[in-house]
């Protein structure tokens, strides 16, 4: 592959990284903390390519052709085009119900007991799914019982039940772990994958080893919402 093509590929790939960084789409793929590294990587890629192009132009065409002669970059370099095309043309969506249904239940593995503080006071407490399932799995004193809680997630159905689910990632979407809560009471009849805010109360002691620590939740009201900017919890 010619040097010019390599440089264009680098600019495209760096540009793709910068595009998802500045448009916020990176949150579909990686965790929030990676943003500065992504921007730096994009800038460096584009910078290295531009530097090489400027050098080649200054040295004149002949030198560039000569370089090409003994640069034996393999065909694999072409593969760098794949993520570029994926980002610019397809822009894959955030992970959803497909992962929840195929992955192992991981509710009980969230953090552990000693990280739990007191619940905030208030009529309706907005809680992350992580905190909610952690409390139902680990907290034996029942701090959640009787409290009205608001959860945000997407709907998914399996084994005759309706669940509100959310994925948690620690690095990128490849390590996504599902968090699930089974809905009872006024179960919404919205389609799968619809993002919702559900308000209601936990069914005390409903999370146990037999149901992989998936708690039940009595729904009082449901609001459909748009997919949050940060689709994953971390």
């Amino acid at each position: 592959m010619r040097r010019e093509t390599q440089n264009i590929l680098l600019i495209l790939l760096g540009g793709a990284l910068l595009k998802i960084s500045f448009s916020g789409l990176y949150l579909r793929y990686v965790q929030k903390g990676l943003l500065p590294l992504l921007i730096a990587a994009g800038v460096i890629m584009v910078g290295l390519a531009v530097f090489a192009i400027v050098q080649d132009v200054r040295r004149g065409k002949a030198a560039a052709e000569d370089d090409h002669g003994h640069s034996h970059s393999s065909r694999s370099t072409w593969l760098m085009l794949l993520p570029v095309l994926a980002v610019f043309l397809i822009s894959p969506p955030a992970l959803g119900g497909d992962v929840v249904s195929s992955a192992a239940d991981t509710n009980q593995t969230q953090r552990s007991r000693n990280l739990l503080g007191d619940l905030p006071s208030g009529e309706v407490i907005p809680l992350s799914m992580t905190e909610f399932v952690t409390r139902t799995a680990w907290d034996e004193s029942g701090t959640l019982d009787g409290r009205r809680v608001k959860l945000t997630g997407f709907l998914t159905r399996a084994d005759g039940g309706t669940f509100v689910a959310r994925l948690a990632i620690s690095c990128c979407a490849a390590d996504a772990r599902p968090l699930k809560v089974r809905l009872t009471g006024d179960v919404p009849s919205l389609p799968d994958e619809q993002w919702v805010e559900v308000t209601g109360k936990v069914v005390p002691k409903s999370a146990n080893e037999k149901n992989s620590w998936v708690p039940s939740f009595t729904v009082e009201s449901t609001t459909s919402v748009a997919q949050p900017v940060e689709p994953y919890e971390s």
Partner: protein, 336 residues
């Protein structure tokens, strides 16, 4: 598929001088085609499994690129600013003694496995013994502070896991280094891997730095994407839920978790969070997962094949796999 096809056809057609099609024209052709067929491509991928796979693929690439860039920058800096003689003075002259030094030096590279491959290759080019560079390659992604802190956060109920991971990974790296001293052959490593890039004469050091980094990035980038492609496919199409039913079968658990570490190709900064999720398994198989993952996985095998050649990767990867399992099991039995 179409890509290789077009390369081949461009080669065939490049014969007659009048109609010269270079990679540049091929690239433009692919881009135009992709733009024209965009909506059809999107429709084609509109199947839940394929959507998941494409998201995971992009996620792995996006997540790994910054670390690869870090790796090629360090590699470029070594090429431009660290003379071979300085490295030789820094390391013990006896290779068998330099191996543990390189293992511990891995603590200093705060990245995951994608960063360490270009650095290890550069070290070899600068005259460091392959055994020493390979030990560094294996140790760096597993024993650096970021990975250990992540492990400690994930396993905050069992702090011994952090110690066991550190010891197991360091042991794996050093054993592989010593095995290379004893059995390794230079001819397994592709010649191009050891060829030094250009000379310093005439060009400024910064130009050498930029050109080395760019060259390494172009070289490794494609293989990283290839590894991401494999990992995304495995991750999406190999069902993992049944793993929870393995329960207390330790031997089976060790074997399954070792293979899982290879095919999932998780970043070493994230694998602890996945390992902790396999709560139905005892600690030992999960330790095997943490020790094998950073040492050998599909993404890493692709990167190694790109950097050192196929005949190296197909010997080194299986050997590392076995050694890593053994080291993890021994460490786990002693410490956990």
């Amino acid at each position: 598929m179409t890509i290789t096809g077009e390369i081949r056809s461009s080669k065939r057609r490049s014969g007659p001088p009048r109609l010269k099609i270079t990679s540049l024209e091929v690239l433009c052709g692919i881009l135009v085609l992709a733009l024209l067929l965009q909506s059809r491509l999107v429709d084609l991928l509109d199947v839940p499994k394929l959507r998941t796979a494409s998201t995971v693929f992009v996620a792995i690439c996006v997540q790994a690129m910054p670390f690869l860039v870090l790796g090629v920058l360090i590699s470029g800096a070594i090429a431009a600013f660290v003379p071979a003689s300085a490295l030789r003075r820094l390391l013990p002259s006896k290779t068998a003694l330099a191996v543990p030094v390189a293992g511990v030096a891995g603590v200093a590279l705060p990245g995951c496995e994608c960063a360490s491959v270009p650095v290890a290759r550069r070290l070899m080019q600068q005259g460091v013994a392959p055994a020493v560079a390979l030990t560094f390659l294996l140790a760096a992604p597993a024993v650096n502070p970021i990975v250990l802190v992540a492990t400690a956060v994930a396993f905050n109920d069992t702090p011994m896991m952090v110690v066991a991971r550190f010891v197991g990974s360091l042991l794996t790296a050093m054993v592989m280094g010593w095995l290379w001293v004893r059995f390794g052959k230079m001819e397994w490593i592709a010649e191009r891997a050891l060829a030094r890039l250009g000379d310093h004469d005439g060009t400024s050091r910064w130009a050498v730095f930029a050109e080395s980094a760019r060259h390494d990035l172009v070289d490794a980038g494609g293989f990283l994407v290839l590894g991401g492609l494999f990992a995304a496919t495995f991750k999406t199409f190999v069902p993992v839920a049944w793993m929870q039913t393995l329960g207390g079968q330790v031997v089976l658990g060790v074997i399954v978790m070792a293979f899982l570490a290879v095919i999932l190709a998780l970043c070493s900064e994230a694998d602890a969070f996945v390992a902790v999720a396999f709560s139905a398994l005892p600690l030992l198989p999960r330790l095997v997962f943490l020790v094998v993952g950073p040492a050998v996985d599909v993404k890493l095998i692709a990167l190694q094949a790109g950097a050192f050649g196929k005949s190296f990767a197909f010997r080194f990867a299986p050997a590392t796999f076995v050694v890593a399992i053994l080291c993890a099991v021994v460490t786990g039995v002693v410490l956990l």
